[in-house]
């Protein structure tokens, strides 16, 4: 019997290693797997590279992971949000590396990793500061930069419903980066609000098929706290 459910968030992240690249789903605080991030904090790891659209707000979740010195580098599109004080302070003090990537390029780099595409050309960022140092080639007279796939060792995902095969649905704008990150890591770990029986999810409604999922932990925490 295939059963990807594990008993706790701590058990789900038990074998994440120092130096791992960790993809973290969510946009702002919506669809963000905060309980898995908190469990990662408990592991006391070092030198993590975190890929996330935002770079944490307040003092919990990703902000806590960074504040506790677990993160060497953040790859994100929008580090500066209301309450992103931890990242800003660490960055100012030179204690964290920051790679800012256009949001669509970030999503596409992970989609490429999940789909077995090593690199791709895009006009986004061509001729700008974020395109500096990248290979440039014109297609149809338009300058494009070469972007490389972005693969995770681990992805932390938040779902709305999950079954024991790891089939997932999402809720509203909580979908965001979760499906693409689930495809793009060697080990995909999910926290889900609702646990459903196998066969209960309408196959037409499954957004992430369980093929992309390794572990699921049931954490019915309720509504996201936006800030």
């Amino acid at each position: 019997m295939i059963d990807k459910f594990v008993a706790s968030a701590l058990e789900a992240v038990a074998d994440v290693r120092d130096g791992a690249t960790v993809l973290i789903g969510g946009f702002g605080q919506v669809g963000t797997p905060n309980h898995l991030i908190e469990a990662l904090c408990e592991r006391g790891l070092r030198d993590l590279t975190v890929v996330s659209n935002n770079a944490g707000t307040g003092t919990h979740g990703l902000a806590r992971l960074m504040a506790e010195g677990r993160v060497r580098k953040v790859i994100c599109s929008y580090p500066r949000s209301r309450g992103s004080v931890v990242l800003e302070e660490l960055y100012r003090e030179g204690r964290i590396e920051l790679e800012v990537v256009p949001q669509g390029t970030m999503a596409e780099r992970m989609r490429a990793a999940g789909a077995g595409i090593p690199a791709f050309w895009t006009p986004t960022a061509a001729g700008t500061q974020l395109g500096e140092g990248k290979e440039v080639r014109a297609f149809g007279g338009r300058a494009c930069v070469l972007e490389h796939a972005l693969k995770g060792d681990v992805a932390l995902i938040e779902a709305w419903e999950a079954d024991r095969w790891g089939n997932l649905t999402y809720r509203m704008s909580g979908r965001n980066f979760n499906p693409v990150m689930a495809m793009a890591a060697d080990l995909t770990i999910v926290q889900t609000q609702h646990r459903v029986e196998l066969g209960e999810l309408d196959p037409e409604r499954v957004v992430t098929p369980g093929v992309f999922v390794d572990r699921v932990v049931h954490i019915p925490y309720g509504k996201p706290r936006l800030w």
């Binding site: 946009f27 702002g28 605080q29 919506v30 659209n53 770079a55 599109s77 929008y78 580090p79 500066r80 949000s81 209301r82 992103s84 990242l87 800003e88 960055y91 100012r92 920051l98 800012v100 990537v101 256009p102 949001q103 669509g104 390029t105 999503a107 596409e108 992970m110 989609r111 895009t122 006009p123 986004t124 960022a125 061509a126 001729g127 700008t128 500061q129 974020l130 300058a143 999402y170 809720r171 509203m172 704008s173 909580g174 979908r175 965001n176 980066f177 979760n178 499906p179 693409v180 957004v207 509504k223 996201p224 706290r225 936006l226 800030w227």
Partner: protein, 219 residues
């Protein structure tokens, strides 16, 4: 500045209302953060325009009354919104395929500067800014069929924002087709900025005095 005695500059909503008047029914539109977000308030509901938020919401409706707020439903500015009938949710991959694949009829962005060659600078104020945040601006600017910028005509201290060449870090090159300011509406043409219309009381000379780039009337 005497020339402006009769001319009352538009406020943020006035600028948004002016731009909204030019969006036809049926367009798929992405609105950036700030003044652009106000544009949807000025499109009457019976004119069906599909607003897309890059965090994966297609068919964004107006802000909900407090009792109907749902933190699962936010826009790219992380404000709570509603979904219109016909709306849908997509992942970041699909949302940015829509943006980068040329499926947006229009993107409206705020800007620090727009140059007469259509370059736009709207994401960083200097090349060594602390923790610069780009979000989806470069994808939107490069990917939309049309890019309209909406911004104050000058900075608070009177420095022109419509320039010959941008001095701030670029978001994308040669992509802006129209600019809506608190004083005028201008097209970006191969010959530079062409003034489509101005607020009542404004003259081309007075507008030119507030603009670094050369202006000419629209043909």
């Amino acid at each position: 500045m005497d020339m402006l005695v009769e001319a009352a500059p538009l406020d943020r909503h006035g600028m948004a209302r002016r731009l909204a008047a030019d969006i036809p029914e049926g367009w798929v539109v992405n609105l950036g953060i700030g003044i652009p977000t106000l544009v949807s308030d000025h499109v009457p509901p019976e004119r069906e325009v599909i607003f897309q938020a890059e965090n994966g919401v297609i068919g964004v409706g107006p802000a909900p009354p407090p009792e109907e707020e749902d933190p699962w439903l936010i826009n790219a500015g992380k404000q709570m919104v509603t979904l219109r009938p016909g709306g849908s949710f997509v992942s970041q991959s699909d949302s940015f395929a829509l943006i980068r694949g040329g499926h947006l009829d229009l993107c409206v962005l705020g800007a620090f500067e727009v140059a007469e060659n259509g370059d736009i600078a709207n994401w960083a104020i200097s090349s060594n800014e602390k923790a610069p945040a780009v979000g989806g601006a470069m994808d939107l600017a490069a990917g939309a069929k049309r890019l309209w910028a909406i911004m104050e005509h000058t900075t608070k201290d009177g420095r022109p924002r419509l320039v010959k060449r941008c001095s701030y870090p670029l978001t994308a090159l040669g992509v802006v087709s129209r600019v809506y300011t608190n004083l005028a509406v201008l097209d970006v043409t191969p010959e530079g900025f062409a003034v489509r219309d101005m607020i009542p009381g404004m003259t081309l000379e007075a507008l030119q005095a507030r603009t670094e780039a050369k202006l000419r009337p629209a043909a």
